[in-house]
């Protein structure tokens, strides 16, 4: 099948066409020709042309929860892939927030096999501890050999420093990546929201940012000792950005991500006990938000993720204490990030955070927009203004505070594995 993309601006720092407005001819999933806009006259099956069209290497979201197996009523692999495609992502890394938790080879293979024909590449993170119990190592190598791209105890993080150290050292044997969610449970106790005057007024149980900072410090130290790499799940506190900055100066090989919603939402939104603002890590202050944005600008934070966390209505529409943490984000992550950052980061810098850096961190080949390369592409429009409507949501769950929110920037479609998925909304 021949597809022609007409007059699109290429955003790809590794391509010689970067920044140029071009026509791109794709045949059977391979980029056949890249040429000056309006110059390709081939007869094709499909033409994609739109005002303000941009094209970049396919986006990659390294933190999504697809809930299958175990919680398919919240999200299954197919609905998750549809949401990812609509959000412009050609690749995702799923967290082991399943039941049972992904901690063996067969579970990794189940997800890989079931999603093989999808236009979205689904990579899998397995748990670092056996059965997500936080006591012994899981069979990390066996999972790695079956395609697991990273290891993490996700949001029930390893409290035992010795186990974390052994995980880092063991993964180093075969080049596996350990992802740490910085959260010291003995300090956070049963906290639901950030410690602040806002939460004090509401009588909500609080988790101070020191719970994040102290765990971040521990794991940076352990990674330094083990002389290996480590990646941090979404950070939320200003002090965390500084700790990471200092660690980088000491040549500790640490990378980090931030969840897109943390760039626009802060804790002052909690006053109505709206559970759509109950997320983990919690929404923090405006100062923290500004520090996260500066961390992105300075390159201290490498990646923007959606932290897509589908929850059914029974788990969200209830008392704040009992409601589940998390919001869905695949379809809004880019729009949210672009809206928050468009005056601060260039489009190319944003594309690095949602496409190139995550793949580099996970050691996955980065697509390049050059002739004879596989077409793994995202089409987007960074200037398009739009409003999220509930009917557009592809997820099985609708837990998002962004319904009715106006954004600037939208994914228009993806091309991957010879398949084209256009965002029809």
């Amino acid at each position: 099948m021949k597809i022609l993309i007409r007059s699109a601006v290429i955003v790809d720092p590794s391509s010689k066409h970067n920044g140029k407005k071009t026509d791109i001819l794709i045949e059977d999933g391979i980029i056949k020709q890249v040429a000056k806009a309006g110059s390709i006259k081939e007869k094709v099956v499909k033409i994609i042309a739109d005002e303000g069209l941009h094209i970049s290497p396919g986006w990659f979201d390294m933190r999504v929860n697809f809930r299958e197996p175990g919680f398919e009523y919240k999200e299954d692999l197919m609905s998750g892939c549809r949401a990812a495609a609509a959000g412009g992502f050609t690749g995702v890394l799923t967290m082991p927030s399943t039941h049972p938790p992904v901690h063996t080879k067969s579970q990794v293979e189940f997800i890989r096999n079931k999603t093989q024909s999808q236009p979205v590449d689904v990579f899998v993170a397995g748990t670092l501890s056996y059965n997500h119990e936080g006591e012994h190592l899981s069979e990390m190598y066996d999972m790695f050999a079956s395609g697991a791209a990273a290891f993490t105890d996700d949001k029930k993080p390893v409290q035992d420093a010795g186990l974390m150290l052994r995980a880092l050292m063991y993964a180093k044997n075969f080049g596996g990546l350990v992802i740490s969610f910085a959260h010291e449970a003995s300090i956070a106790v049963n906290g639901k929201v950030n410690e602040s005057v806002t939460a004090t007024r509401l009588g909500l149980k609080m988790m101070p940012s020191v719970a994040e900072e102290i765990m971040l410090t521990r794991d940076l130290y352990l990674a330094g000792y083990a002389e290996t790499k480590i990646h941090f799940a979404p950070l939320s506190a200003a002090r965390s950005v500084e700790l990471l900055r200092e660690a980088r100066k000491k040549k500790i090989h640490a990378t980090a991500e931030v969840a897109a919603h943390q760039l626009v939402l802060d804790e002052t939104l909690l006053t109505d006990f709206d559970t759509n603002y109950k997320v983990m890590p919690p929404l923090r202050s405006k100062t923290d938000m500004e520090a996260l944005i500066k961390g992105l600008k300075d390159g201290i934070i490498d990646v923007i993720t959606s932290d897509h966390s589908p929850e059914d209505i029974e788990n969200k529409q209830r008392e704040f204490d009992h409601a589940a943490f998390g919001i869905i984000g695949l379809q809004t992550a880019y729009a949210v990030a672009n809206t928050a950052l468009k005056k601060i980061l260039t489009t190319e810098e944003i594309i690095k955070k949602i496409s190139i850096n995550p793949r580099k961190i996970l050691n996955i080949p980065v697509p390049v927009i050059e002739e004879n390369q596989p077409a793994n592409l995202t089409l987007f429009n960074p200037e398009l203004e739009w409003v999220l409507e509930e009917a557009q949501i592809k997820s099985r769950s609708k837990n998002t505070p962004f319904i009715g929110t106006k954004f600037t920037g939208k994914a228009v479609g993806i091309i991957n594995k010879g398949q084209v998925v256009m965002n029809e909304n």
């Binding site: 410690e195 602040s196 005057v197 004090t200 509401l202 009588g203 704040f320 204490d321």
Partner: protein, 309 residues
């Protein structure tokens, strides 16, 4: 003066303004006179059905509300969580909607989770009175406390009130802070650092960890109960040691340079936050608080029912 509240529900003192509180007080003055008559009942809420939903145990608040409702001639139905459908896994919305389907006009609810009353007000059609929601607010308690101060001193403005104890787990402390501040009192909180929210001073209150200093400063000391049931972990080594640092006994009270007034929201742990001789002393207005509770709750119910039309 306004004759209507600015709110449709009493979810928290946060939502009220000073004239709302004054209106509740002047209304309560009338009801206090009524409940001291030989015939204590008035027909104000005839044809109004009120459901008391208590998802958490309570003795005095529940009795106080029930008495207030009955003296206003409302029809009352009671519900408590134990032995009900809640233990069968029914959600809060379903429980309440089922009760409302029986045509209830007002709901008085106590619940263990902060924000439960706000949550309810967004999902059902009835006037809601928050009778305590977790560690968030207990507005009628704060109103009756401030009313009792007003009764004893003639006014609240300018009075110095210290709240002593487990500030972190206390809805009474929070509602009292908001209420007394709106009326112009000065507030101090006193307790161990582990039970003190880190940012509490940003609410405009003084923070003191030395009990003797706090008592020397104040006109009124409101002694909170230690809420072991709300503490997930142990914040102090033993009750014995807590008493050594934060218990008020007669000897301490007599050692102060002035006579202060002692309040307590109840139930008292005698010998913990205050000793019996303090609780029963002439300086204590604990039983006046209980009496005023009925009048204040009558005022709140009466005014909210009026807001309906």
């Amino acid at each position: 003066m306004e004759s209507k509240l600015s709110v449709n529900h009493l979810l928290g003192i946060k939502d009220l303004n000073a004239s709302d509180i004054e209106l509740i007080f002047t209304t309560a003055d009338n009801f206090k006179e009524v409940i001291n008559r030989p015939i204590k009942k008035v027909p104000s809420l005839r044809d109004i059905t009120i459901s008391n939903l208590f998802f958490e145990s309570s003795t005095r608040t529940r009795l106080s509300f029930e008495l207030a409702e009955k003296r206003l001639s409302a029809d009352v139905i009671n519900f408590s969580a134990s032995g009900s459908s809640v233990s069968k896994g029914e959600t809060l919305i379903d429980t309440v909607n089922n009760i409302l389907a029986m045509k209830v006009d007002m709901v008085v609810m106590r619940h263990p989770n902060p924000g439960a009353a706000v949550f309810l007000s967004k999902h059902i059609k009835a006037r809601i009175v928050n009778a305590g929601d977790g560690t968030n607010e207990h507005p009628t308690q704060a109103l009756l406390d401030a009313y009792s101060i007003r009764e004893k001193f003639g006014k609240v403005k300018g009075k110095k009130v210290v709240i002593v104890g487990d500030i972190m787990h206390s809805r009474v402390a929070l509602s009292n802070i908001f209420c007394l501040q709106k009326l112009g009192a000065e507030i101090m909180v006193c307790g161990p650092t582990t039970l003190m929210p880190k940012y509490i001073s940003q609410l405009g209150v003084k923070v003191e960890h030395n009990l003797k200093k706090a008592l020397e400063w104040c006109d009124i000391a409101n002694m909170l109960r230690i809420q072991l049931e709300r503490q997930d972990i142990r914040y102090f080594p033993s009750l014995r040691e807590y008493i050594m640092l934060y218990g008020v006994n007669k000897q301490l009270l007599d050692s102060l340079s002035k006579r202060i007034t002692i309040m307590h929201p109840g139930p008292i742990n005698r010998g913990v936050e205050i000793t019996s001789d303090v609780a029963d002393s002439a300086q204590s207005i604990i039983l006046e608080q209980v009496e005023n509770g009925v009048a204040v709750r009558m005022a709140v119910l009466y005014l909210l029912a009026g807001a309906k039309n």
